[in-house]
């Protein structure tokens, strides 16, 4: 019996890294565009730009996902 441990390990590693990475980046985007609840101050332009970059990265990941499904 041949168990493809390499493929299983790859799935495990890739899934973990990509999921945590994407969720982390997206959360940074959310944090960058939201005001801190304690102060109620609006986020600065730098934070806002960074946040949009995060969202763009996530959108790119979704695009890559669609590419994987179609291909």
């Amino acid at each position: 019996m041949q168990i493809d441990w390499a493929a299983l390990g790859q799935v495990f590693g890739v899934s973990l890294v990509v999921t945590v990475g994407l969720v982390g980046v997206f959360t940074l985007g959310i944090v960058g565009t939201s005001s801190a609840s304690a102060a109620g101050t609006q986020p600065g332009s730098l934070a806002r730009t960074g946040a949009y970059a995060c969202f763009a990265l996530c959108a790119a990941a979704v695009g890559y996902g669609i590419y994987l499904i179609v291909a």
């Binding site: 168990i3 299983l8 799935v11 899934s15 999921t19 940074l28 959310i30 939201s34």
Partner: protein, 412 residues
């Protein structure tokens, strides 16, 4: 098309019925947490999932082409009767698990049905046992572990990063993100599961000599399979949606987002790398993982345990039903007719039973049989009471690895 016999016609209709049950059985995978976090209204969610399933069905025919060459050795003399019996077994199991509100893998039901029917009518040597272990058993253990761990870590991370932010404000972002990942899951489901039906229909056409072996599914097969799965998805398996969206754990927007993103990633990574995992098991695992990842989150292990039992039973149960059906169908035309009639009767009975306590999109919030805290849940809570602050984070860490193993241990 002029060569299609009555029997092959019956097989095609049965395959489409299976495709339909597959659709409403698996709506929950993409949409259960999307609905329970309020990212989408129930009706909108199932409509979106249906459209994406339909679109997904047209995207590729790769899976359909490989389904016949895998678990069952098609050269060993598979006849349409065998495929018919296998489909009946899968449909009956899908309906039973739906009645119980348990998410179980439709693909495993299909494999189990085909395997059982093949064993009865051809013999054990026509089944590739290695492939069964490789494609069904190992993924069944691996899927919830991989998805659960990824979703758990992601959930912890996102709660840590967004700490101190206004929950109402961040919830909007999480919901938007969740819609995107749920859409990916739906699309991937359409390409995978609709194609399985296409593969089965094509296999039937091949065994009946209508199309040449190894040919692409004809266009009408693609269209009808896509429509059947989309219709099933749109009707929505509300029982299973309720189990996954509310029964397993209480899902908040950050958890829903982490779970759904984890599920989409695992599904795409696994199918791309070539170690296909069951969508249902991936999604259930990621939901449990997100439940474990939130401080104070509780996974209802009794529900998870029933799910794990259903996963273990899927293959043998669908196989048994299909084996019995194959035995009857082998007796000739009257046998096939008997199986068809019995299949209709059983489906009708299950539907009638479901009408007694109907679950619709309106009654998703009611959880009538409020899950009694199971032994495992109670024990876990005793060991690790939901901590109130960051100080108590340690016990959660200590408990989770063991907790994450429980469903797998039950499954093996």
């Amino acid at each position: 098309m002029e060569h299609i016999t009555l029997l092959i016609g019956i097989v095609i209709v049965t395959a489409l019925v299976f495709d339909f049950t597959n659709g409403f059985h698996d709506t929950a995978n993409a949409m259960a947490t999307t609905i329970s976090t309020g990212a989408l209204k129930p009706k909108v969610a199932v409509a979106m999932s249906a459209v994406l399933n339909l679109v997904g069905a047209f995207l590729s025919v790769e899976v359909a082409k490989t389904i016949s060459g895998g678990i069952i050795d098609e050269s060993a003399g598979i006849r349409p009767e065998v495929i018919f019996a296998g489909l009946i077994g899968a449909i009956v199991w899908n309906l039973l698990t739906w009645l119980a509100g348990l998410p179980s893998s439709s693909s495993h039901a299909l494999f189990g049905g085909l395997i059982g029917a093949t064993i009865v009518s051809v013999g054990f040597n026509a089944v590739n046992a290695d492939k069964v272990v490789m494609k069904v058993l190992i993924p069944a253990v691996a899927a919830p572990l991989v998805a659960g761990l990824a979703a758990m870590v992601a959930t912890r991370l996102t709660y840590r990063l967004a700490k101190g932010r206004d929950e109402k404000e961040t919830a909007k972002g999480y919901r938007a993100g969740q819609i995107a990942s749920a859409a990916l899951v739906s699309l991937a489901h359409g390409t995978n599961d609709a194609q399985k039906t296409m593969g089965v229909i094509t296999l039937a056409l091949v065994t009946g000599g209508v199309v040449a072996p190894h040919s692409d599914p004809p266009l009408w097969v693609i269209v009808s399979a896509g429509l059947a799965i989309a219709l099933g998805t749109y009707l929505g398996g509300w029982r299973i949606i309720r189990t996954l969206g509310k029964g397993l754990t209480d899902i908040q927007p950050p958890q829903g987002f982490a779970a759904q993103t984890g599920a989409a990633t695992v599904i795409l990574a696994s199918s791309h790398i070539g170690f296909a995992l069951s969508t249902t098991q991936v999604c259930s695992g990621s939901i449990m993982g997100s439940g474990l990842g939130r401080k104070g989150g509780v996974v209802r292990w009794s529900t998870a345990g029933r799910m794990a039992i259903a996963w273990c039973l899927t293959l043998p149960a669908a196989g048994l039903v299909a084996g019995g059906a194959a035995f009857l169908a082998d007796q000739g035309d009257w046998g096939v007719t008997t199986v068809a009639v019995l299949g209709l009767l059983v489906s009708g009975a299950i539907y009638a039973a479901s009408r007694r306590k109907p679950v619709t999109h309106d009654s998703l919030d009611e959880v009538p049989d409020a899950e009694p805290a199971g032994v495992v849940t109670a024990a876990l809570q005793a060991v690790a009471p939901p901590p109130a602050g960051p100080v108590a984070a340690a016990p959660v860490v200590a408990v989770t690895p063991e907790a994450g193993r429980t469903p797998a241990a039950a499954a093996s």
